[in-house]
Symmetry: C2
Subunit: 166 residues, 2 copies
DNA sequence: TGCTACATAGTAATCATTCCTAAACAGGAA
DNA sequence: TTCCTGTTTAGGAATGATTACTATGTAGCA
């Protein structure tokens, strides 16, 4: 996207939000990213400019921006929250290896019929398609694990078994 | 579904899993539920029968069953993991009020075209549609908040602002 | 310029989940 | 049937993301 700080100040004003340097920087970092960063990612990105910045503030800012509708939380798992300032309708492709998220804007996905068999009084407000799979790099490393000479399945390391999320 | 403990023992054997009473009970509780319970829910459900059961065991069991492909994790947010033993292809409707999840089996959703604009070497293995909205009960309570005489927006309580997940 | 409510930062608390360890047990071998 | 071995279980401790609390700072309005 690439909004200037001035654009952002204006946007905040339009939404009735106070504009502070920290808040603007956090939002700018998010708007200018397509990587769906975590709170920690944003913190790391903005920290050099605002060394006193608290991770707490990042969380608070994301909450406020979320309530204002400027930011969405992206669900790819229960582990940690990732954020997105892309407000145009879109969907996601998630690599199950590196957990990278790629935006998908495919108009064919924008008009799915509401599902059948729901309780009558259920009110659908939005939907999203999450595609899962493996990016090129992760397919490579998968293959090398599958054919590794040891044949040792990585499951042995206690708990960290990864399975296909649904 | 309603599998007997014997069916389950057989299923475990087929998958090369040891069958223990705890494991079978946890799996049975999950298979017989459509509520997509959390680990804690399952723990609460099985605990009366096995008072010594540890929540730890529930997590370990879910991990093992997941690796065996008998169980899937359902993502509706980053907060806590919910589980599903329904292996037939299906999608979900999530109430943003009570966080209830309803299974949707609508064959029209089972053959979406792969999205355009992906890197060539990305390998899509599955996808899922998540519909969001509000169930009848939650629509009612929403309405009563919106028209409440105080007009107080619930945002005031510090951090717990809930916004539409994407 | 001064006031006031909201924002920030620091620290502490919370809570789901994972890790570690010793004891118990399932399932195959003798 | 009994024994052995590796897996499973339970308990307690640790981790890590997120939230809560609180004092101080500051944006934006009068």
């Amino acid at each position: 996207m690439n909004l200037s700080l001035n654009d952002i100040r204006q946007k905040f004003r339009d939404c009735g939000l106070k504009s502070t340097p920290q808040r603007a920087s956090i939002y700018q970092a998010l708007v200018n990213s397509t990587a769906h960063p975590t709170a920690e990612d944003l913190f790391a990105q903005v920290s050099p400019t605002y060394p006193m910045l608290s991770l707490n503030t990042v969380y608070y800012t994301l909450t406020v921006l979320g309530a204002a509708g400027l930011v969405h939380e992206v669900n790819i798992g229960h582990d940690r929250a990732r954020y997105d300032a892309n407000l145009s309708p879109h969907h996601h492709v998630i690599c199950q290896g590196c957990q990278d998220i790629i935006d998908v804007m495919d108009s064919r996905l924008d008009s799915l019929a509401p599902p059948t068999g729901l309780p009558k009084d259920f009110d659908i407000t939005s939907y999203q398609v999450a595609f899962r799979g493996y990016c090129g790099a992760c397919r490579q490393s998968q293959k090398s694990i599958a054919t590794s000479p040891s044949g040792q399945h990585p499951v042995s390391s206690y708990r960290r078994i990864v399975w296909a999320r649904v």
